[in-house]
């Protein structure tokens, strides 16, 4: 297990390091001079030069990159161009809310994916199979901003069951907080649930072909016991990997969902900083997104290797 980890770690670190280069380049590729922007239109050349020196923009690119990387390792992303606040503080504030939303969506996606995946794998008739795959494609392909608008129209517009958007901390008021959480989580969970269900169905069907499964069937086990004890446990392995990737995509999808439901998370900060070209903010959040994504991938591969010894024995 440790050897597997040691084998995977360098590759992961390399990808992460490579990913920091384009993220750093974001600042460099941008048209315009951040120092001049910050100094204002009437600033003297000396003032601009002073600001440039303060920001460290007069040093060589390589040194700037290294000092940025070093700061990032310490969690220091300098200050926002727009309001001068510490970027790490701004990011940290949104991260909790986005995390809550993503976690809820993840749980929901898994809860939806299991029945759907098992049903797809077991579907006997062509009609049922077509219906299930149609449902899957719809869940997968219809963009979150469409489902978001639809859900708002139905559940808060027509039925008046749930609030159209906003946020109440779940810990302060569990009942009301949960109400605000329902629609965004559902909206965010649907595409991921569809992906997971597809993978689960495919994985289950592979298990159905295996000899041990056939042997268990021959022993006369009940259908329920067959699937729950012999089918699913052998099918969930590959799912762990997909789950890791899906968490990353949930975080990406959260940007849209937060905009729809006025959820005060990272997405809002991200869009406004992209609009204002607040590069330290943009860089910090890109780095955060990529790190989460890559670390989750490694983590899910490790869990998979833990579950399935065949994986870690591979050369």
């Amino acid at each position: 297990m440790l050897r597997y980890l040691l084998r995977r770690l360098p590759v992961t670190a390399l990808v992460l390091l490579l990913a920091t280069v384009p993220i750093f380049a974001v600042l460099r590729m941008a048209p315009g001079d951040p120092a001049a922007t910050l100094a204002g239109p009437d600033a003297s050349p000396e003032a601009v030069a002073a600001i440039r020196h303060d920001l460290g923009l007069d040093r060589s690119l390589a040194r700037q990159y290294l000092s940025w990387l070093g700061g990032a390792l310490h969690g220091d992303f300098s200050t926002s161009f727009v309001n001068g606040a510490e970027v790490s503080g701004l990011v940290g504030r949104g991260l909790g809310n986005t995390g809550t939303l993503t976690l809820c969506a993840l749980v929901l996606a898994v809860l939806l994916a299991f029945p759907l995946g098992v049903a797809t794998a077991l579907a006997r008739t062509a009609r049922l199979r077509t219906a299930l795959s149609a449902l899957n494609v719809v869940m997968l392909a219809v963009p979150t901003y469409v489902t978001g608008v639809l859900l708002t129209m139905v559940f808060s517009g027509a039925l008046r069951l749930l609030p159209p958007g906003g946020y109440v901390p779940v810990l302060d008021d569990p009942v009301e907080g949960a109400q605000f959480l329902v629609l965004p989580s559902v909206c965010l969970a649907l595409p991921s649930a569809a992906v997971l269900a597809r993978f689960l169905a495919a994985s289950l069907q592979r298990v159905f072909h295996e000899e041990h499964y056939f042997a268990s069937r021959m022993r006369g086990l009940s259908r329920r016991r067959l699937i729950l004890r012999h089918g699913l446990p052998n099918a969930v392995g590959p799912l762990v990997t997909v789950l890791g990737i899906q968490i990353g995509h949930l975080l990406g999808g959260a940007v849209i969902v937060e905009a729809i439901f006025a959820w005060p998370g990272l997405g809002e900060a991200m869009v406004s900083s992209a609009n204002a070209r607040d590069y330290p903010m943009v860089q910090a959040m890109l780095l955060l997104a990529v790190t989460v994504f890559i670390v989750l991938q490694l983590f899910s591969d490790l869990v998979y290797a833990l579950v399935d010894p065949r994986v870690r024995e591979q050369p």
Partner: protein, 327 residues
Amino acid sequence: MSEPTGHGATPPETAGGAAAAPGPAGAPATTPPREPHEPHEPHEPGGRHEVDGAAERAPSRGPLRDPVVLGSLGVLVFLALAGLILPSLLPHGPNELVSDRALDGPSWGHPLGTDELGRDLLARVLAGIRVSLLVIVSSVPLALAAGGLLGLFSSASRWLDTPVQRLFDVVLAFPSLILGLACAAVLGSGLTSVIVTVAVAASPVTGRVLRDAVRSQATRDYVVSARVLGVGTWRLYLRHILPNCFDVVLVQAALACATAVFVEGGMSFLGLGVPPPGASLGSLLSTSLNVLTSAPFYAAGPLVVISALVLCFTLLSDALNRTMAAR
């Protein structure tokens, strides 16, 4: 299922026949490498073979005979024609103030109603279709060319393979809308960044799939015999191998179109796409959210059109993959 390294996970063939195509909505990065050479035999958990369902029965039908391909192509052609032709037949443009009654419900003069400034919503939805078409036409060829070239290099040279694959890893590590935010931050919001985002987001998947396809072709007898006959490397790839990978590219093109519509809508929804006076399906949707209680009809047009576009492109790619794999 050799290595669990993320993107190369299992290629699922679900029982419904829907091939492995996690669409643009959730996850371009999860799009598993299609392995179209395995016609699936659905086994019941009981081990009983079943041979109903069109997908299993017809191994030799052309893609144009498939009802799903025909249906989605029909809808797409209809929407494209509507977006291209109808605006010139309408009495008013998308940015014209045509009614002094803002947010007026559907009527004969304005079939989809009017927007918050009294502009005709039908004209604006049609303008939105044009924007989507523009993004598709400009970004999908870019994505296919970039991804295709990289995939080709990657399959042709062992030295380039690893760096190119790591590059794809890095790009795939960013969800498409996060890429969009980064592009908007660098290039400024507008259609240029939308087009760049789509090209960047869609090319790694194309590259991966094409690389695998070329590799599987490269071991075929016809390639070996061409080599023996002394066909040069360039000619071998361009005239012999690539034409045989055409179906894979076609499937990817349809998927890239879906990504293009999705990303354009998403970025415009966030206010990073088409700038304000212009209309886009995404920005129409985001405005409709603000007026949902007073004018629920507002969302109908953009909602239907954008879902139809993304859904049809995804279905088309799925169905093409299925019918071509069956051959």
